[in-house]
Subunit: 154 residues, 2 copies
């Protein structure tokens, strides 16, 4: 898995949050994940299957950040992670993956998306179990941190 | 989504746990999921993509049950959900989905599996966000409960 495969996901997350929530996330340094560094309170997860490879992606939000995104997008803040928040995280996961799929399709990498799942639970950790390198990248904001993690089979 | 699509996953989970951990889970009643009933401590999640449909599946374990399964399979019980336990849950998720894929392939339903992800966090909840019916089924044991959840797009 090379950087050409990763950047479209990172760019797509920045685009989605900027467009839909008028919020600028600050991208940190992408790095190889060697342990379970990302902890968060709500995560969107999705599987991907293509002719060349298959893999998985997750986006994990701290509660304060996703509630601020919800406030900016929908004008309401439920104060806790309810079904509306998990629906929003599912939508964001779909949009980010769809955006990356388009960018990668232009470069000749094609994959199909499975349907997203959302996990809610304070301080959970996610492990991607594909047999390939795992890339994790933090995005910071005054309201909290988000992490995107991607893993494709070699 | 019909029962023909669901049963192979349920059967496959019973087979995997029986074969690998010499443990009999007691299948409960499958039901349509209308809210987030399944709570657990460690979950394996996987996406699926086929020509007719796409969807997602998760298997959620209570801590006591997965540690007992680990004890039976590997002769060791770490007492907490560590990386070895999440690896095991990833393997179980792969095996259950692979078993169901074979059974469904014989009936003419084909799909490709993405790679599994594992979530660890006490008392987390999972929502499948595909636009289709969600089926949840509990499996009980003296050591705790497991839940399998499946959702395919209509």
């Amino acid at each position: 898995m090379n950087v050409e495969f990763i950047n479209p996901f990172l760019q797509s997350l920045l685009n989605v949050i900027s467009t839909m929530a008028s919020m600028q996330l600050n991208p940190g340094k992408p790095k190889l994940k060697t342990d379970n560094l990302a902890k968060g309170d709500v995560s969107g997860l999705i599987g991907m299957v293509g002719p060349q490879t298959r893999g998985s992606m997750s986006i994990t939000f701290e509660q304060g950040l996703i509630l601020e995104i919800m406030q900016n997008m929908l004008g309401e803040n439920p104060g806790t992670i309810n079904d509306e928040v998990t629906d929003l995280v599912g939508e964001i996961t779909n949009m980010v993956t769809g955006g990356a799929k388009n960018l990668l399709g232009e470069k000749g990498y094609n994959f199909e998306m499975a349907t997203p799942m959302v996990v809610a639970g304070l301080g959970h950790r996610i492990s991607h179990k594909a047999d390939g390198k795992k890339i994790i990248m933090p995005f910071t904001s005054p309201h909290g941190t988000a992490y995107i993690e991607i893993c494709f089979e070699n």
